[in-house]
């Protein structure tokens, strides 16, 4: 279970993510990303991908995850749909293996709603609350 909600930000795009598990935070992050950039579109053949990530914190993994998604969408024309499986391993640092369902589109066929320059670390701090794991996520546009 997860939610993402756009929050006010003067210059860029900001979201609040809440998820019942740390794994589900990645789905919330992907939801926020898709909400920002993807237009209504009919997609071509399905193609799933698996991302293996490594970092010093869960925040780093979230940024690295969306970095890859942003690259795959803008440069390879691969459109993410949803996370099929996310596995986090907390030993010798933080590792993640994330399986994402998506579609081939072709780089120039999609007109994106927004150009995301970068996924930032600003205000990105995962905390456990009564509502679940919570963080803000800000895209530089």
């Amino acid at each position: 279970m997860y939610t993402f909600k756009e929050i006010d930000h003067t210059a860029d795009l900001a979201y609040q993510l809440i998820a019942t598990t740390q794994e589900a935070l990645f789905s919330a992050a992907l939801g926020a990303y898709k909400n920002s950039v993807l237009p209504q579109h009919k997609y071509n053949a399905a193609k799933d991908i698996t991302l293996s990530l490594q970092g010093n914190s869960i925040e780093e993994l979230i940024v690295d995850f969306l970095r890859e998604i942003n690259y795959l969408l803008t440069e390879k024309g691969w459109v993410p749909e949803k996370i099929i499986n996310a596995r986090l391993i907390f030993e010798n640092g933080f590792k993640a293996k994330i399986n994402v369902a998506g579609h081939e589109s072709g780089k120039n066929k999609l007109e994106l709603k927004e150009e995301i320059k970068a996924i930032t670390y600003h205000q990105l701090a995962v905390v456990k609350t009564n509502e679940g794991y919570k963080t803000n996520l800000i895209f530089d546009i």
């Binding site: 003067t10 440069e75 150009e115 930032t120």
Partner: protein, 483 residues
């Protein structure tokens, strides 16, 4: 005065100091007014970011902020920090994602009254000629990797060699449009891939191409030296290094965040990730950053050329009748190795300008034509009201490492801007400002309406009154294209 828990002491009418506290290596200084502090800065984290930047190893004198300060990533936008090149660090967050985002102003021989009735035709042709919008591409033929790497090394020289401008344009571009020592081997394949079809494109967001008229002259002598006269039509181009620059910043931020524990800096914000200037990581970042800077100068050079061709076509005039001549091109997101006086002695520093314009005074460091008056400082405002051209003064070298403000700064979020624009005929509203506009979509126009920005006059006046720059002319837009 205390704002968001940070104590500020007034130094003079337009300058406030944040005294050193735990972890800060130098005090902070913000050029602003009490009213801006209370009305804008109290609502966001930018002041805290000035404090955070003061934690950087090797920072000299002050963590500075110009009057268009607003919150950014790591550094505030409008932030300036100079670090010792031997003891200090270089930070991608001190440059920003859009490396060498900057402004170019081109003069023409045309008078506003000669072309104002034809502005619709002019703007339509320009909009077709200069690719704009999210992921825009295809201004020139798609480059091969070898050619792109030449751009990364040679900057605007590539454009001149390929017929997109004249040799003289290089003289009036900061760094002559090329930072020496750019090393394409420090640039990732992904960044290269993103740059292949983006040379000569404007992009989206707040990037623009404007047709302006010189509306007011504040300093006749400098205006004359700059070649500016009342009623003159000038072109303003604002864009940067596009996807290539974002990717370079992101690649190095990722690398430096992962190296943070090894360097052991313990900084208050991950976005301040940095490396010693002379470390392998620092050297690699700087050499890659120079590549993006060169790409951006080449980008603005190609756009200038496309604009010239478009104006000749739509107005049916000759080159000489148009009189297209570059006034200056400045970077406002960059790091440079510069010599500055510290305690009366010259010292080599790494000057980070993030949303800040170089504002060098009269002297040998600027083009010969401007050596007696100071370099042109180009300060765009919003797309409805006005922009400014100022000149650098000695006080900028004494106080701000030769830097000034770079624009107005947003006051309303894009989200709020869209809400405010709902149900309104924005094109008609812009016409009421006397501006004909074309953009990829109404969303961009809504997000960039004049009322979402501060009045740039308030920003420019602070720098003028503090003696950092001198106001020269005010420009009024009458034609705009946006991404």
């Amino acid at each position: 005065m205390i704002i968001n828990g940070v104590e500020l002491t007034r130094i003079h009418e337009n300058l406030w100091e944040i005294p050193m506290s735990k972890g800060m290596r130098v005090p902070g200084r913000i050029y602003t007014t009490q009213s801006m502090l209370e009305n804008f800065l109290a609502k966001e984290d930018a002041i805290k970011q000035v404090v955070n930047v003061a934690h950087l190893p090797g920072i000299e004198k002050y963590s500075l902020a110009m009057p268009d300060i607003h919150w950014g990533y790591g550094f505030p936008i409008g932030g300036v920090a100079a670090t010792d090149i031997n003891e200090g660090v270089i930070s991608p967050g001190g440059v920003g994602y859009d490396i060498n985002c900057g402004v170019r102003v081109v003069k023409t021989s045309l008078h506003h009254k000669e072309i104002s009735t034809r502005i619709t035709k002019i703007i339509e042709d320009l909009f077709k000629s200069v690719p704009t919008g999210v992921g825009s591409s295809g201004a020139i033929k798609k480059l091969c990797v070898k050619e792109l790497k030449r751009i990364l090394k040679d900057g605007s020289e590539w454009a001149i060699d390929n017929g997109f401008g004249v040799e003289q344009d290089l003289l009036f571009t900061e760094e002559n449009g090329k930072m020496e020592g750019a090393d394409p081997s420090a640039v990732s394949e992904r960044a290269i891939e993103r740059g292949l079809d983006q040379a000569g494109t404007l992009g989206s967001g707040n990037h623009f191409l404007e047709i302006d008229v010189v509306d007011e002259i504040f300093n006749n002598e400098i205006a004359e030296t700059f070649g500016l006269f009342m009623g003159q039509v000038v072109i303003q181009i604002h864009t940067g290094s596009r996807g290539l620059g974002y990717q370079i910043c992101d690649d190095y931020l990722q690398r430096l965040v992962k190296a943070e524990q090894r360097f052991g800096f313990n900084l208050p914000d991950r976005q301040l990730a940095c490396a010693p200037v002379k470390s392998q990581e620092g050297t690699d970042y700087f050499n890659a950053m120079k590549c993006a800077a060169n790409f951006a100068w080449n980008n603005r050079q190609i756009i200038m050329h496309l604009t010239e061709k478009s104006l000749i076509r739509s107005l049916g005039i000759s080159n000489s009748e148009l009189g297209f001549e570059l006034l200056y091109d400045v970077a406002h997101n960059i790091a440079k190795m510069e010599e500055h006086n510290i305690d009366g002695r010259p010292k080599q520093l790494c000057v980070h300008r993030k949303g800040a314009t170089r504002a060098f005074p009269p002297g040998k460091l600027i083009p010969e034509r401007y050596r007696f008056v100071g370099q042109p400082v180009l300060i765009p405002g919003d797309m409805g009201r006005y922009s400014y051209i100022a000149a650098g003064s000695q006080k900028s070298m004494d106080e701000t490492f030769g830097s000034s403000c770079h624009g107005a700064g947003r006051v309303a979020s894009r989200h709020k801007a869209i809400k405010m624009g709902k149900g309104k005929d924005l094109l008609s509203e812009m016409r009421r400002f006397g501006v004909e506009i074309r953009a990829k979509g109404m969303k961009t126009i809504a997000e960039e309406m004049p009322y979402v920005y501060k009045d740039v006059t308030d920003v420019v006046d602070i720098m003028h009154n503090a003696g950092i720059t001198k106001k020269v002319v005010k420009l009024k837009p009458f034609g705009v294209i946006k991404g």
